[in-house]
């Protein structure tokens, strides 16, 4: 047997040893990449401005003009659905303002043809999540908590990744995020230094049952 030629070059040993670690590393790498990707803003479409059929700027309407959210999103306090305003709502103002601006054209078309303006959904929760706007705004959870500073968005984008885990942050300890009801629509609201103290007080006041908030049926049916 001694006469038989060697099968491998001496370096092979090192190679073999290295390969063990490399192999292990590759597995870890792949896992990491997956984890990172599925949490990435790209995958969840966060901070990605979405083109709309109308060049509508929340920055101008909510920010510069300072309109209240509820002027257009009328049912936000009564219903699960915040309402995308019907064309007539736009018309009410734009018969006075910027009637002829090309940007407003789509409104007139929609009004004439009776065809609705098809907005692209920006905050799109999965079908099995039953989110209800009214209960949130009536219990002191501000628009900005989920939607961000819409009044500074020329074109609206998704501010949060809307993970279930993220929802639970708030559902488990609301005191960290709650604010007085009258401040709900206030875009400028910043949490005070004594947020926790204030929060606990408000949670009491609005008798929010924190245990129940993390029940499955609160969001899923």
């Amino acid at each position: 047997m001694a006469t038989r030629p060697q099968i491998f070059r001496p370096g092979t040993n090192t190679l073999a040893r290295v390969s063990i670690f490399v192999g292990a590393l590759i597995v870890v790498e792949i896992l990491l990449i997956l984890i990172v990707f599925f949490r990435s803003n790209y995958w969840r479409q966060v901070h990605i401005a979405i083109d709309q059929p109308v060049n509508f700027s929340h920055q101008i309407h909510a920010g510069v003009v300072g309109m209240d959210c509820r002027y257009c999103h009328a049912s936000v306090a009564q219903s699960s659905f915040a309402t995308i305003p019907p064309t007539e709502t736009c018309v009410t103002c734009h018969t006075q303002v910027k009637q002829n601006s090309p940007l407003v054209q789509p409104i007139w078309e929609s009004l004439e043809t009776g065809k609705p303006i098809e907005w692209v959904k920006v905050h799109d929760l999965p079908g099995f999540v039953y989110f209800n706007h009214s209960i949130h705004v009536n219990k002191g959870f501000g628009c900005t908590e989920c939607h961000g500073r819409v009044n500074e968005m020329p074109v609206v984008w998704q501010e949060q990744a809307l993970f279930m885990g993220w929802c639970l942050n708030c559902h488990r300890n609301p005191e960290k995020y709650i604010r007085p009801v009258e401040e709900v629509y206030n875009m400028e609201w910043v949490r005070p230094p004594n947020q926790i103290a204030l929060g606990q007080k408000l949670v009491q006041e609005y008798n929010i049952d924190v245990n129940r908030l993390s029940n499955c049926y609160i969001c899923h049916r």
Binding site: A16, F163, M164
Partner: protein, 477 residues
């Protein structure tokens, strides 16, 4: 006074006339045969099992396409063949580890010729078993939700559920068995490397041998590693099937909610595992004429183990019935009645026949050493163990608390195709194994041969010595 010592002849565990050279030659020649000289018998066997493997794949494809509704499942019988097969395969997967690890620790050297084989069988059985829990899910693509991992949902699996425990039990068992098997193969890979003709062959075996040079240091480390793994996997033999049995025992269904399940599932597993080893070894030792390595002694020993485990299982059945009656609970009592005279009664009685009555024949040496009988018997036991799971799963489910929901379970073509298909997977792997790897542990056989020779020599010496000092009669003065 007279001192003498009886030296009874012992049954050989290696046939006569074998030397180190012949052992190595005989065993290693099988994987090293040139592809073109592959025996026709092997090709045929492989072709058949491969076609069944294809059936398996098609069934899985259709299953994923249409859903579990292609099976005969319904409410109340929401578990069917998938679970039965899962438990059956897991059971079969027990013999390997038991033979290798436990018998090693008990220093049963006769095991050496069958352990490699049994371990391989274990791996393949576990591979089959591992598939079914996933296939039987309503939404199989979400199986990973059973694994605890940090996720964006803030959710963990529900650890009170035995199904969550299964994930760990089975994956651990599979990993350890694989390591055990691979480690055991290293020295043989080296032998093959050195005997292989073609360069490629040598390189492949070379890589697998991880630079094994049979230095005493290597041997020392090897023995340590092997012993540790053996110690590791021994408790697993008990744990895996205990946990599988909890899938049933934890529920509150009459016929499932039974505290003796863990021990008697383990016994049953060993029982079925040995049955499968017999089913496989008997033909193989014939075809590859390895009678010298897998001798009557092996078969006899395995038969004895089966007699013991079989009796434990039988006892288990009787206890179930007894407690069913003794519980004085309407539901438990009806469960017993339903097993014995209900619409599925034939399966129950067939089970008693296969696993309870027939094994009693093994009390007799005649049957233990009658090879054709052992072969048939091992198959009967395989069927019996499958029936046991059928009885537990289906008969308990189809008639339980509210008579209004009672119903029957009738397997469909796809139930059968998936079961037969899994056999295809098992045998395909097995055929590849016996063709391309040493199915018997070469170096351990050599060591065995050595110790056998030693024993023989010592025995010889002893006889001479005894013959030497016979006392002389005293002289009168």
């Amino acid at each position: 006074m007279q001192r003498y010592e009886q030296i009874e002849p012992i049954e050989p565990i290696i046939g006569p006339g074998q030397t180190y050279a012949t052992i190595t030659e005989r065993i290693s020649s099988i994987p090293l045969t040139d592809l073109r000289q592959t025996p026709r018998g092997w090709l045929v066997g492989f072709a058949i099992s491969f076609s069944f493997l294809m059936l398996f794949l098609i069934s899985i494809l259709w299953l994923f396409a249409r859903g579990t509704g292609i099976w005969g499942l319904n409410i109340p019988v929401a578990w069917g063949f998938a679970i039965i097969n899962f438990v059956w395969w897991i059971g079969i997967g027990h013999a390997g580890t038991l033979i290798s690890a436990v018998l090693l620790l008990f220093q049963q050297s006769w095991r050496n010729s069958i352990n490699r084989f049994a371990e391989a069988m274990t791996l393949f059985a576990v591979a089959c078993a591992g598939l079914f829990p996933i296939l039987h899910l309503g939404r199989p693509w979400l199986f990973y939700w059973l694994i605890p991992y940090p996720n964006t949902l803030g959710m963990w699996p529900q650890f009170r559920s035995p199904l969550a425990w299964d994930v760990f039990a089975i994956s651990t068992y599979a990993t350890v068995s694989l390591l055990f098997w691979l480690v055991g193969l290293i020295p043989d890979f080296a032998i093959l490397r050195d005997r292989a003709a073609g360069k490629l062959q040598r390189q492949i075996f070379g890589l697998l041998a991880l630079g094994w040079r049979s230095s005493s240091r290597h041997w020392y480390r090897y023995e340590m590693a092997y012993l540790i793994l053996a110690a590791l996997s021994t408790p697993l033999v008990v744990s895996v099937h205990s946990i599988v049995s909890l899938d049933f025992a934890v529920s509150q269904l009459p016929g499932w909610h039974v505290t003796i399940f863990p021990p008697y599932f383990v016994a049953g597993a060993v029982f079925s595992g040995f049955a499968m080893v017999l089913t496989l070894t008997i033909p193989i030792r014939k075809w590859y004429n390895l009678e010298d390595f897998i001798t009557m002694k092996h078969l006899d020993n395995m038969a004895k183990v089966m007699l013991v485990t079989g009796s434990i299982v039988f006892y288990g059945y009787l206890m179930e019935l007894f407690y069913g009656w003794y519980s004085a609970s309407v539901f438990e009592q009806y469960m017993v009645l339903n097993r014995m005279i209900g619409p599925y009664a034939p399966f129950f009685w067939a089970l008693i026949l296969c696993n309870g009555v027939i094994p009693q024949l093994l009390w007799f040496k005649f049957f233990r050493q009658n090879i054709p009988f052992l072969f048939v018997f091992s198959i009967i036991v395989n069927i019996g163990m499958w029936l046991e799971r059928f009885v537990i799963v289906v008969i308990s489910l189809h008639r339980e608390f509210l008579p209004s929901s009672w119903d029957m379970y009738t397997p469909t073509f796809w139930d059968w195709s998936l079961y037969i298909g899994s056999l295809g997977l098992f045998f395909t792997l097995l055929f590849l194994f016996i063709r391309f790897l040493p199915m018997i542990n070469i170096f351990e056989m050599s060591m065995l041969q050595f110790s056998e020779n030693e024993k023989a020599r010592r025995r010889e010496a002893r006889r001479v010595q005894l013959a030497g000092d016979t006392p002389e009669p005293a002289q009168m003065a």
